[in-house]
Amino acid sequence: MIEAAILYAFACLALALALNLWRLLKGPTTGDRIVALDTMVINTIALIVLFGIAFESQIYFEAALLLAMVGFIGTVAYCKFMLRGDIVE
């Protein structure tokens, strides 16, 4: 049962990443691209957690935690740059 759920979740996340990529490439404004990148990071965290479940290994969670932090900082830095023309004032 849980194997089927993991497969379904992998398929859903792959599709979600493809949709995000479409928005990232198409997105008319910079804001759309930032949203798309942010969502891609969150989906990637979900993918890593799923890998951890599929392989029954807890090592993957360190990577997920790191990615959560780096992704948030990247989003904030990009937004800050768009707002102020500078990241660290």
Partner: protein, 149 residues
């Protein structure tokens, strides 16, 4: 049905629900017409989906290893703290761009945000107040003319 099977079923259900919500969030990102509406998909549905998957993961490791892992709690706490902040900043970028452009295209169903009342400040709608410390704009009062570094 034994307790083991029940826990496994709940875990699988949480995984399925979480992945579905992540997919719905991305579908909203593609489908919705303007940026302000597009923000709803990723910030709500995707965050909820990841929360569901993390809960499922916690249950799974409790089931298979018999140990609690705090990593999922840390990840979900961090994510639930940061997602609104990121969304707020992206909305600010959008408002900033609307203000900067001469004739903004279709804004959103809700229309333009109301003007800033009185002394209040939406951060993107005003230049920093004169005399604001610890800002590079102190040296150069108009942000538009600031030299790019």
């Amino acid at each position: 049905m034994s307790a083991q099977h029940l826990v496994e079923a709940i875990c699988a259900l949480l995984l399925v629900i979480g992945a579905s919500f992540a997919l719905i969030g991305s579908w909203g990102l593609v489908r919705l017409p303007t940026l302000m509406e597009r923000l709803h998909g990723p910030t709500k549905a995707t965050t909820l989906g990841l929360g569901g998957m993390l809960l499922g993961s916690m249950l799974f490791f409790q089931l298979s290893r018999g140990t609690w892992s705090a990593h999922e709690l840390l990840i979900s706490l961090f994510l639930f703290l940061t997602a609104p902040v990121a969304a707020n900043l992206i909305a600010k970028v959008h408002l900033h761009r609307l203000r900067a452009s001469e004739n903004p295209e279709a804004v959103s169903a809700a229309g333009m945000p109301p003007p800033v009342p009185g002394d209040a400040d939406w951060a993107t709608y005003e230049a920093p107040h004169p005399g604001t410390p610890a800002a590079t704009s102190e040296a150069d009062p108009s942000p538009a003319d600031r030299p790019k570094r």
